[in-house]
Amino acid sequence: MVIVYIDQADHQIKKSSLEAMSYGAALAKQLGCEVAALVLGTVQDNLADLGKNGAQKVYHLKNESLNTLDVKVHSSLIATAAKNVNANVVVFAHNINGKAIAPAVSVKLEAGIVTGASSLPNTENGFVVTKTVFSGKAFASIQIETPNKVIAINQNSFGIVNYDHNAIVEELNIPIPASSIKITKVEKVEGEIPLTEASLVVSGGRGLKGPEHWGILLDLAKSLGAATACSRPVSDSDWRPHHEHVGQTGIQIAPNLYIAIGISGAIQHLAGVNRSKTIVVINKDPEAPFFKAADYGVVGDAFEVVPTLTKAILKMKSTA
C-alpha cells in the first residue's frame, strides 16, 4: 500500500499535500496497490474529500497537540502508522514540514528515500525516481534499493488530479509520545501568499534601485494575485524581507509563472527559479543573462514597462 502524509497549516490541508495525494494515487495505480492518506492533528477540511484527490482511505490521528511540528513525535507516529497498515511506500510533499519529517521516517522504516522528486518513478526495472540536481543543470535518476520506500515530491511538479469518489475515514489509535519542543512564539506574515505555495510570483532585483520603488511591483503582483519574491542583494540590503529571497541560498520555487523585474539572472538566482513553468524577464539590458532562461522577454525600463503591464492585466481581467 502507498500512504501519503497530509500536511496542514492553520487547520487547513496544504495545496502541496493535495499534489502529493494525487501523486500517491497515480503511483498506487502504477503499482497495482491501494492508496491511503494519513492526517495528523485537527483540520477544518472534510477528510472524506481527500477521495477527490485519489485517497481510498484516510487514516486520522486526531489530536490538537499534533498541529505543531515535533519531528521526533511526527516521524515516530507516521512510521508506526505505516507499519500498522502495511504501507511500503510513504509519500510526502517536499515542503517545509515534509523536508523535516520524511528523512527521519525513512530511517525508522529502513527505507531508501528520494527527496525533491520531480515525477512518478520508473518501476519497469526496479524503482527509479528522478529529481533535479546541480541547481537545475541536470536530472539524476536514483534507484531506491530497499523494500520500503519514501518519496518527497517537489511542489508544483505534479498537478492535482480530480476523482469522483469519497474516501473512508478511519480514526487511528496510536499513543502519542510527549513533545520535547515547546513553542513560545509564532509570527505569521499576514495576508501574503506563501511563496512556496504560490502559482504566480513577481520578483524584483537591484534594477529597481531601492525599496521606495517596490510599489510598481506590488501593484503588478496584486493585479495577478501573485506572491512576491526578490534577489539576494535585495534582501541583504533589507529592501525586502528575508523570506522573499529566492535562489540557491534562498528559497527554491517552481511556480507556473515567474516574472523577474530588474534581475540580471545570475546562476545562483536561476538555481531557485529555473523550474518555473513560464518565465517572463523584464530588463533594460538586452544582454542580461536571464533572457537565456526566459520564455518571454521585454527589453525596457522597468519603471515604464511594469505599470503598463499592470494596466494591461487589469484591462484583461475587467473584460474577461
Partner: protein, 247 residues
C-alpha cells in the same frame, strides 16, 4: 558545551557541470570545491559565535568525503573550530552518510549538532533529520536564530507562512539557514592555526547504501526567448493567457 558541525563540500556554483562513464558519474575533473554555503556561513559561524561567548565551548567538525575534501575541512578549521574528523568515503547515499555522522556523534557525546539546511548540489535536505532519528534526539529544521542558556536552547525556525520560536532541551540536532549568523572570511591567523589543528581520518563504518544514482540527464535547452515590444503589454498578457495558459 560540545558542538559538532557537519561540513560538506559542493562544486562552486559557477562550475561547469558534466558527467562521465556514460552519464552515470559526475565529472569531478577540474571542479573547484567550496564548503556548502549553509554549513559555512550559518552552521559553522554560529558555532564559532557561541564559542566566542563561552570560551569553554568545544567545536568539532566532521565531513564524510575522500581526500579531495581535505582543503575544505582545513578551510573550515581556519574559520574556527578545534578539531576535525574526516570519514574517508565518497558515498552519495544520504542514509550511509548519516550513519557515518551518527557514529561519530555518538562517540563524541555532543550537546549540539549543527548541519546546513541542505547541500546546494543534491538538495536532499535529509541529513539533519536522519541524524536526529539515528541518535533519538529532537530536531529543529530551518533554524534562522539560535541561542542557548544552560541546557535549554531557544530556536527560531521557518514555518509555512512565517516563523516560530521554540524551546528545546539539549542534546538537539539543528539544521541552519540564513539569519543564524553573518558570513565571515578566514583571516591569516586562523589559516596558520588551522595547519596545526588535529584532523583525524577514519575509515567508514559498516552501513549499507539504500539508494544509488543510475544516470544523469541534462534538461533540454529552452527553445529561446520570445521578445515583446515594451509598448505592447497587451500582447504579453494575451500570450500568457492564450499560449502559456498561466494566467
Amino acid at each position: 558545551m560540545k558542538i559538532l558541525v557537519c561540513i560538506s563540500k559542493t562544486p562552486d556554483t559557477t562550475a561547469k557541470i558534466a558527467f562521465t562513464e556514460g552519464n552515470t558519474k559526475f565529472d569531478e575533473n577540474g571542479v573547484q570545491w567550496i564548503i556548502n554555503p549553509y554549513d559555512e556561513w550559518y552552521a559553522l559561524v554560529r558555532a564559532i559565535e557561541l564559542k566566542e561567548k563561552d570560551p569553554s565551548t568545544i567545536i568539532h567538525l566532521v565531513t564524510v568525503g575522500t581526500a579531495d575534501a581535505e582543503p575544505i575541512i582545513r578551510k573550515a578549521l581556519a574559520l574556527g573550530g578545534d578539531e576535525a574528523i574526516r570519514i574517508n568515503s565518497n558515498s552519495n547515499d544520504s542514509f550511509f552518510v548519516a550513519k557515518q555522522l551518527a557514529t561519530v556523534a555518538k562517540e563524541g557525546n555532543y550537546d549540539l549538532i549543527f548541519t546546513g539546511k541542505e547541500t546546494i548540489d543534491y538538495n536532499s535536505a535529509s541529513i539533519g533529520s536522519m541524524l536526529s532519528a539515528l541518535l533519538d534526539m529532537p530536531f529543529v529544521s530551518l533554524a534562522n536564530k539560535f541561542d542557548c542558556d544552560g541546557n535549554t536552547a531557544t530556536v527560531r525556525r521557518e514555518i509555512e507562512g512565517g516563523e516560530e520560536t521554540c524551546e528545546v532541551n539539549l542534546p538537539v540536532v539543528i539544521s541552519c539557514q540564513k539569519g543564524m549568523a553573518e558570513q565571515r572570511i578566514p583571516n591569516m591567523r586562523g589559516i596558520m592555526a588551522a595547519r596545526t589543528k588535529p584532523l583525524k581520518v577514519l575509515e567508514p563504518f559498516e552501513a549499507s547504501a539504500t539508494t544509488s544514482i543510475k544516470k544523469f540527464d541534462t534538461p533540454p535547452a529552452k527553445s529561446g526567448v520570445k521578445l515583446i515590444d515594451p509598448a505592447n503589454m497587451d500582447e504579453l498578457v494575451r500570450l500568457l493567457k492564450e499560449e502559456a495558459k498561466v494566467i
